[in-house]
């Protein structure tokens, strides 16, 4: 009451008070513990219970972890080593199996000398994603690319790549970094070309195959450009697509054969049944998500269309796919697809699985994109209309860029889901990391009877990858939330 005499008396402060530190009880660790752990009887009980749970878990599993064996040639040796170390009846982890077979968990049967190819392809995947993920932030993009470059070199050396390929990778990454620095807009080409480059690196074969396919897209674009003024987007695209199909189905092989005979450049061809482990999971996951994007966008547009038939077909497709388990889709790939395709068509199981998984993913992507489209205010459509942009132009310049950006978190979580679900391909005999590779490892007489270690190893890797991605998507979600009002 020093300064203020009565409520009616006017009061004017003549000297402002300085900022003070809060009282001691409101600061520091004591406050934190009191507020966060023991703020009430209920909280105290919860705290104690939680600590108890943590303790019990540690108590039961710690010895097993502590008795780990890293060096052995068979399970029997492991067991002997544990007994020797910790006495009769002790149990311990036998990580030796991972030490011997880690490459199969990672790459399946991919030839050991060629591991640089999937590793490089994986690194390039990040390069391809850079413009999408960090398109508007040059600094972050450079950091990401630099990290990728360093990690790539380390990984290459780690898998025992020869010097020539390491230096090749270094040069390639340096070039990409330079491009990213000097002409960031050009980096989008890395994204567009990645499917072909990735395919070429993973499967190898003549370099003209992927180039031929790319030329097909060139044909598509050329025809589209040519016809656009005359026939409009839909017809232009359709005819362009037709032309491209003609190219792919009838002309390409001849041209590429000739070119290959003239310039037989290429990498050693790898069959897709050599793929396995996380390489397989990534191949299926990334391909399916990437391929399902265009399909998903079309389905989402179809679902929002006011044309009854198109809407019905889209809804029917989406709901059908979302209504059946992925595992039945996989069985369809392995058992039924052959029935639906023309007689004599016979392509390998991984490709079939990818096709079906793509269809599966496209339904989920469609829903994600639909959400993105719905999040756009109507005003955006109207403004585009009012400016005279037609449907496709509005989609391309106004709607899709925004809707897709909003959808990125959803797409990332679809990818996480799909990536985890790739483990189900084990049920159709493919070498997924979780069951497939584990099964063959355990079929080896040396390791028959081993159980936990492969699962823990694979589970940990899955966790790291998925957790990283989900954190990233959360970060994105937060970021997008602030800049969209």
């Amino acid at each position: 009451m020093s300064e203020l005499h009565a409520q009616t008396v006017p009061f004017v402060r003549d000297s402002m008070l300085p900022q003070e530190l809060p009282p001691a009880s409101q600061r520091g660790a004591v406050k934190w513990v009191r507020e966060n752990l023991f703020s009430g009887p209920m909280n105290t009980i919860l705290t104690v219970l939680s600590l108890l749970v943590v303790f019990l878990i540690l108590q039961s599993s710690l010895p097993w972890w502590l008795n780990s064996v890293w060096n052995a040639n068979s399970l029997a040796e492991c067991r002997a080593a544990v007994q020797a170390m910790a006495g009769e009846g002790a149990t311990g982890a036998c990580w030796a199996v991972i030490r011997e077979r880690w490459h199969q968990f990672m790459f399946g049967f991919y030839p050991r000398g060629l591991y640089w190819r999937p590793v490089l392809a994986f690194a390039l995947l990040f390069v391809a994603l850079a413009p999408v993920l960090f398109g508007d932030n040059a600094r972050k993009r450079m950091i990401l690319l630099a990290c990728v470059a360093v990690a790539l070199v380390l990984a290459l050396i780690g898998v025992g790549t020869d010097l020539a390929h390491v230096s090749f990778a270094i040069v390639a990454m340096a070039a990409i970094l330079a491009v990213s620095h000097l002409a960031p807009a050009r980096l989008i080409w890395a994204t567009l070309l990645f499917p072909a480059v990735g395919f070429f690196l993973l499967w190898g074969g003549s370099v003209w195959g992927p180039i031929g396919v790319l030329m097909g897209f060139g044909v598509l674009v050329a025809v589209y450009r040519l016809l656009l003024p005359m026939l409009g987007v839909v017809m232009g695209t359709a005819l362009g697509f037709l032309a491209a199909c003609v190219w792919w189905l009838m002309i390409q092989t001849h041209v590429t054969t000739v070119l290959h005979n003239l310039m037989p450049w290429g990498l050693e061809a790898i069959d897709s049944d050599q793929f396995g482990g996380f390489l397989l999971a990534f191949t299926i996951g990334v391909t399916a998500i990437a391929a399902s994007l265009p399909l998903g966008i079309l389905l989402a547009l179809g679902r929002r269309s006011d044309m009854f038939l198109i809407k019905t077909l889209s809804v029917g497709f989406i709901e059908f796919i979302r209504g059946v388990p992925l595992i039945t889709m996989l069985f369809t790939a392995s058992l039924l697809l052959q029935y639906f395709l023309p007689p004599q068509t016979n392509f390998d199981l991984i490709l079939r699985v990818i096709i079906l998984v793509t269809l599966f993913a496209s339904a989920y992507i469609a829903e994600v994109v639909r959400g993105g489209l719905a999040a756009l205010p109507r005003g955006q459509y109207e403004a585009a209309d009012a400016l005279g942009l037609d449907y496709w132009k509005a989609q391309r310049h106004i709607i899709m860029p925004q809707a897709l950006k909003i959808s990125i978190p959803g797409i990332v979580s679809s990818f996480i889901g799909l990536f985890k679900d790739t483990t189900l391909v084990a049920f159709v005999g493919l070498l997924d990391p979780l069951k497939g590779v584990t099964a063959i490892v355990r079929a080896d007489i040396n390791w028959k009877g081993i159980y936990w270690e492969p699962y823990i190893f694979v589970g940990t890797i899955f966790f790291l990858i998925c957790f990283g991605m989900s954190r990233y998507s959360m970060y994105l979600e937060k970021k997008l939330k602030t800049d969209h009002r």
């Binding site: 399970l75 029997a76 067991r79 011997e100 077979r101 199969q104 399946g108 049967f109 050991r112 069959d271 049944d273 050599q274 069985f331 392995s334 058992l335 052959q338 016979n346 390998d348 199981l349 049920f427 159709v428 005999g429 493919l430 070498l431 497939g436 099964a439 063959i440 355990r442 079929a443 080896d444 007489i445 028959k448 009877g449 159980y451």
Partner: protein, 316 residues
């Protein structure tokens, strides 16, 4: 025809198990090894003159016959039991039997069980996807006793469950039981019961209707069997080919007559097949025989001359 396809492709595609110890499993380098695998390799050598020109496609219980029927694989050498309905209704041809198996039971010694008929009320692990579950149901029905089935997807899972005591008995083909028992930490505490409750003739399968290809597979396999009977081994095949005077050996190894041409192959086909990993007996011994840790006895799979069922029709 499949033979032409294979030749044109330059590669034999062989359906195998996703991993069955001793019969087909990839090693640390991703190279398939095992008893079934050796048959495929011999076939590749016979047809393509190169035992390494074979691609193994792992198939599961559900996908194997479809893979074969749809032409994804040229043949299936994947411990598949030859049954009436598979041979007829599924439109497959079992061309030979490379392993005579039978379904048996393994139990822990301390259960004090000495016969499968004493298993009334037991929990039994069955590996699904084969004829096993049908045989088991029939056996218990016949003996008027009951059991609780635990249907397990694969061999290693079954082994784990059995070891953990999640089931009292484990039933699968006797060969599998032996392999499993061999790798148990306390093998001496487990017994395989005497009853073999079914006939499980396992053999290579081809599509119905392509008889020439069936012949190639069948006779390549019998060449291996005959080779054992005739004393031809991987080591001595070249030598015998030049020195032998036995007309059957000569016909088999192509030094006399032209048996190869009859099935669309060249003269030396059998010689090459045998040279890969030896005759039937050698393959058996190397992969699952008593000297390996799986330690199967020849039993029914001995040559007919030794009291077994391995009996190659005459090469004539």
């Amino acid at each position: 025809a499949t033979l032409d396809d294979v030749k044109a492709r330059g590669e034999l595609i062989c359906g195998t198990n996703t991993g069955l110890t001793g019969f087909a499993a990839p090693d640390a380098n991703g190279v398939y090894q095992g008893f079934d695998v050796a048959v495929c390799k011999a076939l590749a050598a016979a047809v393509l003159s190169d035992a390494s020109k074979v691609k193994f496609v792992p198939t599961t219980g559900e996908t194997r016959f479809t893979a074969l029927a749809s032409g994804e694989v040229d043949l299936l050498v994947r411990n598949s039991t030859w049954t009436y309905s598979r041979d007829t209704d599924l439109k497959l041809d079992f061309v030979a039997v490379n392993y005579y198996d039978g379904q048996g039971f393994m139990v822990k010694k301390d259960l004090g069980v000495s016969s499968a008929k004493e298993l009334d009320g037991a929990t039994i692990c069955i590996q699904t996807g084969t004829t096993t579950e049908l045989n088991l149901a029939d056996f218990f029905k016949e003996n008027n006793i009951t059991y609780t089935p635990v249907t397990v997807a694969d061999d290693s899972e079954a082994q784990r469950q059995y070891t953990a005591g999640a089931c009292d008995a484990f039933t699968t083909d006797a060969s599998g039981l032996a392999a499993t028992r061999a790798t148990l930490a306390d093998a001496e505490n487990h017994v395989i019961l005497p009853e073999i409750i079914s006939k499980e003739p396992l053999g290579p399968v081809v599509r119905h209707g392509d008889n020439n290809w069936g012949d190639v597979v069948r006779w390549t396999f019998y060449a291996l069997v005959a080779a054992e009977e005739l004393g031809i081994t991987a080591a001595n095949v070249e030598e015998i080919a030049t020195t032998s005077t036995n007309p059957e050996v000569k016909r088999l190894l192509g030094t006399e007559g032209d048996m190869g041409a009859m099935i669309g192959l060249d003269k030396d086909w059998a010689k090459r097949a045998i040279a890969v990993s030896g005759n039937y007996g050698e393959i058996f011994a190397a992969n699952i025989g008593e000297s390996t840790s799986i330690g199967l006895a020849r039993g029914l799979n001995a040559q007919w001359t030794q009291g077994g069922l391995m009996y190659a029709p005459p090469f004539r």
